[in-house]
């Protein structure tokens, strides 16, 4: 990161001015001597010291271009004052800057007059009016009245440049922000300047719409009302909006944003610039899926299946009563093991705790899984030493991508990685069976055969291989292994292929951490708060705060702290599950076998999200009672007997945890529709009807309770919620990193293991103060030199506070099953996600629903003749599990011998083909 990326930190108070860095230069700005960093731009240095220089084209997260000329100031570097654009000039020692000299004022006034020459004065009907930099700066710096009496430039307006963004070229002041963003930040150079002189316009080329996953950012950074987004257009005036800072949960990257509402309706999300995560950017799915919050199709009242087998609206008391009696009946018949909870990644941390307590602490079942068989074993997520995004993007490192295409599943992580690769000498090594939208960034992109990733990773760790592995030549393996060995390693670990085995990926992660103990891992799981749910124990074998069910029971090597924690927990909870329960696959299998009496679907839609639709169908049909808590009547919820409407995003306050284990707040901005209730309230009500008190009277009581048995973890939440607005960066939950078996408990005195980083977010990192943690230096994922590389944030310390849990989740044995080719005529299936699919949020966001491409099977062009099929025709795809009819199209991105199918697209279900128990899925493609 260069210094040009300084943040807008106008809010900085100089309570404790940071000490001048050694390479500081002294600059005189408007008569005041100030310290600037070497290479810092004049405009940024001035702003940091309280002098705002007007600007339009300058954006702290993009390369300056000096085009709008609004930031002209008098700069004297010893040769007399000269009018210069302050966004292009770096501070040098002894420089004298005058931002308000008569020449500078005249130039600024002149530029503003020029900008207004062709800018329509339609502010009263312009969406930007009230939050418009042109409007604001005209008031502050512009001429009093217009001298322009000729006709302004006219263009047809507005014109669509993409499905969600409209362009009014008359309002455009040609600042190059959107075009620069598209080209330099997003890597989608689809909007350009056309024509010249004052008829210059921004436009797309025919047949090439601005189909970028990040197009909404251009609307946010447009300094006038030229770019508007269809979901917000003409919806509100900025001064009528109320806003609350929150965290996006459309995926698990954890982008900070503000939720803007008016009259109890969510109207817009805007990205917030935080250094460690999103730098102000959002993806279009995250930005525009607020429409789903407002959807007419939200569940607003409980539903009960009546005798006619239809779901009919019911009162809460009736619905809860039916749910509780069914649950009680099930408990009586099948015991605690007969109850299972699927889902929970949608929940906040607080809601997740409530449900875990209900399931494990009151009902006593361990059949709880917040993942849908499309993620990784929980231990692999919680047990590998965690990296931050900044760690992955640190200059000179190498990132090994063993997981999904970040552009499709974790879009803003893609932006950060792209920037790191292109600007900061980070090398990317991608292991993916097909070419992805991220492949072009990779120094090496290895096309391994599906199902064989573990062998490939082993060979890469070995450094050499006598033969090809997983389809990769031996010399390639050596090259890549060398690169991985030479640089600090961060691994992004996730599921790149749902038709592939999760265990193989987890085993690969374990192999890496054993061979490279210093390597750090960034989770590649995408579901909203799946990481928080796992921290709260929403997986078999886990308890909240990264405790294991087996801790303190002698089965596994227990850390003393874990044993004590468990003891505390036993006092708080009514009971603990007797034995390790089932994961999602196990639950559905057991349900299919008739062993599940009561199945809770907690925002889960296994029919569409579970990779094996056949098993999901049999599971839902086999469970005696299905109780769903959800926002929408999804395909799976339609199978439920009791449907409880839940409050969703922007309707509940709490915290969420991202891929880095960074805990940040989510805000409540509106009230839920109808009588929908928060998930924790539903859990408490169910507990009450079972005769128990859940012990929570407000969602954040979860943290008070956690504090009692996992004090370090618990105080994250209490502190964070108290200081929510002060610390948008949140708190990181570090993972004990040594690759050896669990470290001996060195900090049994729980209160001493915590500092008050959570209450004073700007305080130094926990580790530095933790007396009884000798190995914490190694665990600290952030290198000390970050201070130099990162622009000064409003805090005095750029680092997020870090909390270390005193115990860690051990990695179990992962048994990898080598795939066997059974049929020489078959192709191996690669099932991946795209950003836009039939997922609940996209489907209920009117602006996004049309963007899902629909199911298409992509094959290497070579296969067509061989298989006797024609592009565009429907083909029959048959696996051992089932068959689907989908159109086939050729793509060079797919190697020979494979077929690529995107999951959860309309018109053909990839998950109808997958057998979750098989390490690979073999497909026959035939003419129907």
């Amino acid at each position: 990161m260069t210094d040009t990326k300084a943040t807008d930190d106008t809010g900085m108070t100089t309570g404790g001015a940071p000490p001048a860095p050694p390479d500081a230069v002294t600059v005189t700005i408007d008569g005041r001597e100030v310290q600037a960093r070497q290479g810092e731009l004049v405009i940024a240095a001035a702003e940091r010291h309280g002098v705002y220089i007007p600007r339009f084209c300058y954006h702290p997260r993009m390369e300056p271009v000096g085009m709008c000329r609004m930031c002209l100031v008098d700069i004297d570097t010893g040769r007399g004052p000269a009018i210069q654009p302050s966004c292009m000039i770096e501070c040098t020692d002894g420089m004298v800057v005058a931002t308000e000299s008569p020449t500078a004022k005249k130039a600024q006034e002149g530029v503003l007059e020029f900008l207004l020459v062709n800018h329509p004065l339609d502010c009263p009907v312009c969406d930007k009016g009230g939050e418009c930099p042109l409007q604001d700066q005209t008031m502050s710096y512009g001429p009093g009245e217009s001298r322009f009496i000729e006709e302004k430039r006219h263009f047809e307006k507005p014109i669509p440049v993409s499905d969600v963004v409209l362009l009014d070229r008359e309002r455009c002041i040609l600042c190059d922000r959107c075009t620069r963003f598209a080209k330099d930040v997003a890597g989608d150079p689809l909007i350009h300047f056309l024509d010249r002189g004052n008829e210059t316009q921004v436009n797309t080329f025919p047949g090439h719409p601005f189909a970028s996953y990040f197009s909404g950012n251009t609307v946010q950074i447009c300094p006038v009302g030229a770019l508007t987004a269809t979901p917000y257009r003409f919806k509100a005036r900025p001064w009528d909006l109320e806003e609350a800072e929150s965290t996006c949960t459309s995926c698990a990257v954890g982008c900070r944003m503000v939720v803007q509402t008016s009259r109890n309706t969510v109207l817009r999300y805007q990205g917030v610039d935080v250094d460690p995560v999103n730098w102000g950017w959002l993806c279009d799915k995250g930005r525009f899926d607020f429409e789903a919050v407002n959807s007419e199709e939200r569940l607003a009242s409980p539903l009960l299946r009546d005798e006619g087998l239809l779901l009919e609206p019911a009162s809460w008391s009736a619905a809860l009563g039916r749910a509780a009696s069914a649950l009680q009946l099930g408990l009586d018949r099948g015991g605690a093991e007969g109850v299972a909870v699927l889902g929970g990644a949608r929940l906040t941390n607080e809601d997740a705790y409530a449900w875990v307590k209900l399931a494990k602490g009151i009902i006593g079942t361990d059949n709880v899984d917040c993942q849908m068989g499309d993620g990784l074993p929980a231990e692999a997520v919680l047990g590998l030493p965690r990296a931050t995004i900044d760690d992955a993007c640190r200059p000179g490192g190498v990132v090994l991508l063993v997981g999904p295409d970040p552009k499709e599943e974790l879009p803003v992580l893609y932006l950060r990685l792209r920037h790191a690769v292109l600007n900061d000498d980070v090398a990317l090594v991608e292991l993916a069976s097909v070419e992805t939208a991220t492949s072009y960034l990779a120094a090496h992109s290895l096309r391994y055969r599906p199902g064989e990733v573990f062998g490939l990773v082993e060979a890469l760790l070995e450094g050499k291989s006598p033969t090809e592995v997983a389809g990769i030549r031996a010399d390639q393996i050596e090259d890549v292994a060398q690169l991985l060995a030479d640089r600090p390693l961060t691994v992004v670990l996730g599921r790149g292929n749902l038709a592939d085995s999760a265990v193989a990926v987890a085993a690969a992660g374990k192999a890496i951490t054993l061979a490279r103990p210093e390597a750090r891992f960034l989770s590649g799981l995408r579901r909203a708060n799946v990481h928080g749910a796992l921290e709260m124990g929403m997986a078999p074998g886990l308890l909240p705060g990264r405790l294991l069910l087996t801790d303190g029971k002698g089965a596994a090597d227990p850390g003393a702290s874990a044993a004590e924690a468990r003891e505390q927990l036993t006092g708080l909870w009514a009971r603990l599950p007797e034995q390790r329960g089932l994961d999602a696959t196990g639950i559905l299998q057991a349900a299919a076998d008739g062993r599940i009496e009561t199945l809770f679907l907690l925002g889960a839609d296994p029919l569409n999200d579970f990779p094996d639709r056949d098993l999901a169908e049999r599971g839902l049909a086999g469970a005696r009672t299905v109780i769903a808590c959800d926002l929408f009547l999804t395909e799976s919820v339609r199978q439920a007997d009791v449907v409880l409407p839940a409050a969703g995003y922007a309707e509940v306050a709490g915290t969420t945890t991202n891929i880095e284990a960074r805990v940040t707040t989510v805000a409540q901005a509106v009230t839920p529709p109808g009588t929908a209730q928060s998930d924790w309230v539903i859990a408490a009500e169910l507990a009450r009807r079972l005769g128990y008190d859940l012990g929570l009277e407000a969602p954040d009581h979860a943290w008070d309770e956690l504090t009692k048995f996992a004090p370090a973890f618990g105080r994250i939440g209490t502190g964070l919620l108290a200081a929510a607005q002060a610390d948008p960066d949140g708190v990181l939950v570090a993972i004990a990193t040594s690759s050896a078996p669990p470290a001996p408990a060195e900090a049994p005195a729980e209160p001493a293991a915590v500092d008050d980083a959570d209450e004073e977010p700007a305080a130094p990192k926990t580790d530095d103060e933790e007396p009884a943690a000798p190995k914490t230096d190694d665990e600290e994922p952030a290198a000390p030199k970050t201070d130099d590389e990162e622009p000064a944030a409003p805090k005095t310390d750029d680092e997020s506070p870090v909390i270390d849990l005193p115990h860690r989740v051990p990695l179990p044995e992962f048994t990898v099953v080598e795939p066997q080719n059974t049929d020489a005529y078959s192709l191996r299936l690669v099932a991946t996600r795209r950003l836009y699919d039939r997922g609940t949020l996209v489907r209920h966001s009117g602006s996004l629903v049309g963007l899902a491409e629909g199911a298409v099977a992509w094959l290497n062009p070579y296969e067509f003749e061989k298989l006797g099929i024609t592009s565009g025709d429907e083909a029959r795809l048959t696996s051992a599990r089932g068959q689907v009819l989908v159109p086939v199209r050729p793509s060079e991105a797919v190697p020979r011998g494979l077929v690529l199918l995107h999951v959860n697209q309309s018109g053909g279900r990839a998950n109808a083909l997958i057998d979750i128990h098989s390490p690979v899925t073999e497909i026959r493609v035939e003419r129907p």
């Binding site: 085009m67 009018i83 292009m88 006034e109 047809e156 989608d188 010249r196 210059t200 797309t204 793509s891």
Partner: protein, 461 residues
């Protein structure tokens, strides 16, 4: 004008029917300088000769070529030579003749320059509209390659140079060297900011790059053959050698003339029998533009100034690209002004605000005046708009713009308004009447296709 015999340095083959062919070029001493340089001189010696010649750049800015070459940071390779053949300043047509009638001379000049600066890759950027020049250069290049004057191991030496001929797409701004580099890289032709993008340090592909004008390089064969000293003996102290001037407008005999640099006066050039031949139809001179449309205007009292960079600069204008446009007494100053401004307004690349909006606004005001809708306040408004583009309207100009195109549009207005203010006032009525409104709407949308039809995975980037 001195009386001694002045050699025709760059225009010696213009009178030959087949001066553009390799045979004729060789027969008239062509490629002798290259042979001499490769066999007898080191690159440094060639560079020294050019420095000794004090050869000023002929593109417009008039910067000494030898010194420019020296700006390349030592030891940084590859470095590139780019020939600016995008001659498009109104009134300038000397490079076109050079490229059409003597293409080999330019190629030999490129070879010598490349040899001197140590570059192995040169680009010849020719204005898009110059079809004949492109054709002749392409054919000359083919012949030069075939004869071993270009390509690998030229004339059996260690020196190799690959020359790429590139055609422009018709934008005036690409004559600006950084915009030319952008265009050459395949981007939209827009100037880069200096600093940091000085071509000598960060030019083409961010490598050290020498950008020279066609005429500048065409002088090199003569300089190498006859020595830099012989060149410096010609002309004035700081304006050495000969120079091409393109005379156009209201003269009897418009054309491109090679004259001794620095000693010849404007009167010699405009009234001399062998040159301009006087104002047409015996009329009186009203004004003339001494160095291309960007230059402030000169009048009768400037006729006896020598064609010398320093003297012209001191008088408040420039020799620029060597284009002299003559206006006789029948010329309407306002209309002439509008014509020049319109050119700049249309050719503004649109990158920076003052130029994009300012030149367009100036044009609109002038057109309105010509349409009889001028207002008394317009004259001062014109000057104030000029001041916002080029603060203080001085010479040499300051600028709020990125490149000098904006101030170029200021020159004619500042000149004309100051000299012929009464003519402007005559266009400005007393009545602030309504301005006619026409609303031409432009630019249909390229209707976006549904994104769902976009490229498949892997191709979305």
């Amino acid at each position: 004008m001195s009386d001694r015999e002045i050699p025709r340095i760059v225009s010696s083959r213009w009178d030959l029917e087949d001066g553009f062919t390799l045979d004729r070029y060789e027969a008239t001493g062509g490629y002798g300088a290259l042979r001499k340089a490769l066999e007898e001189l080191t690159p440094a010696q060639v560079h020294e000769e050019v420095k000794a010649a004090s050869l000023l750049g002929r593109g417009g800015a008039g910067f000494p070529a030898g010194i420019k070459w020296g700006f390349c940071p030592p030891g940084v390779f590859p470095r590139y030579l780019v020939v600016n053949g995008d001659e498009s300043e109104p009134g300038t047509y000397k490079d076109r003749i050079l490229m059409e009638r003597d293409p080999h001379q330019l190629i030999e000049g490129m070879l010598l320059a490349a040899y001197a600066i140590g570059c192995g890759q040169a680009f010849l950027y020719v204005r898009g509209e110059m079809a004949l020049a492109q054709e002749r250069l392409a054919s000359a290049l083919n012949d030069a390659y075939a004869a071993g004057y270009a390509g690998r191991n030229i004339l059996g030496s260690e020196f190799s140079l690959d020359i790429v001929l590139h055609w422009g797409a018709g934008a005036y701004i690409v004559g600006e060297e950084t915009a030319l580099i952008e265009s050459l890289e395949g981007n939209r032709g827009m100037p880069r900011l200096k600093p940091p993008f000085f071509p000598a340090a960060k030019g083409l592909y961010l490598q050290p790059t020498v950008v020279n004008n066609v005429e500048t390089l065409a002088n090199l064969p003569w300089i190498v053959t006859n020595g830099g000293g012989a060149f410096a003996d010609l002309g004035a102290e700081k304006s050495t050698g000969t120079r091409l001037f393109a005379v156009s407008g209201h003269v009897e005999n418009p054309g491109v003339f090679e004259v001794e640099f620095g000693t010849t006066t404007f009167r010699d050039l405009l009234y001399g029998k062998q040159y301009g031949g006087g104002i047409r139809d015996g009329r009186r001179l009203k004004a003339f533009i001494p160095g291309g449309a960007s230059a402030p205007w000169f009048y009768e009292e400037h006729l006896d100034l020598p064609l010398e960079t320093g003297a012209v600069g001191a008088a408040g204008s420039m020799l620029g690209s060597g284009a002299i446009v003559v206006m006789d007494e029948t010329t309407d100053a306002v209309r002439a002004c509008w014509r020049v401004v319109r050119f700049f307004a249309r050719e503004s690349c649109g990158k920076c605000t003052p130029c994009r909006e300012g030149t367009g606004w100036l044009e609109k005001i002038l057109l309105r005046m010509l349409d009889g809708k001028g207002r008394p306040s317009d004259v001062d408004k014109l000057l104030d708009i000029c001041d916002n583009i080029s603060p203080e309207i001085n010479w040499p100009p300051k600028q709020t713009t990125i490149c000098p195109l904006g101030p170029s549009a200021v020159s004619p207005i500042a000149s004309a308004v100051i000299r012929f203010r009464d003519e402007f006032a005559a266009y400005c009525g007393v009545d602030d009447g309504a301005v006619p409104i026409t609303v031409p709407v432009k630019g249909k949308a390229y209707l976006a296709q549904p994104v769902s039809e976009a490229e498949p995975v892997g191709a979305t980037s």
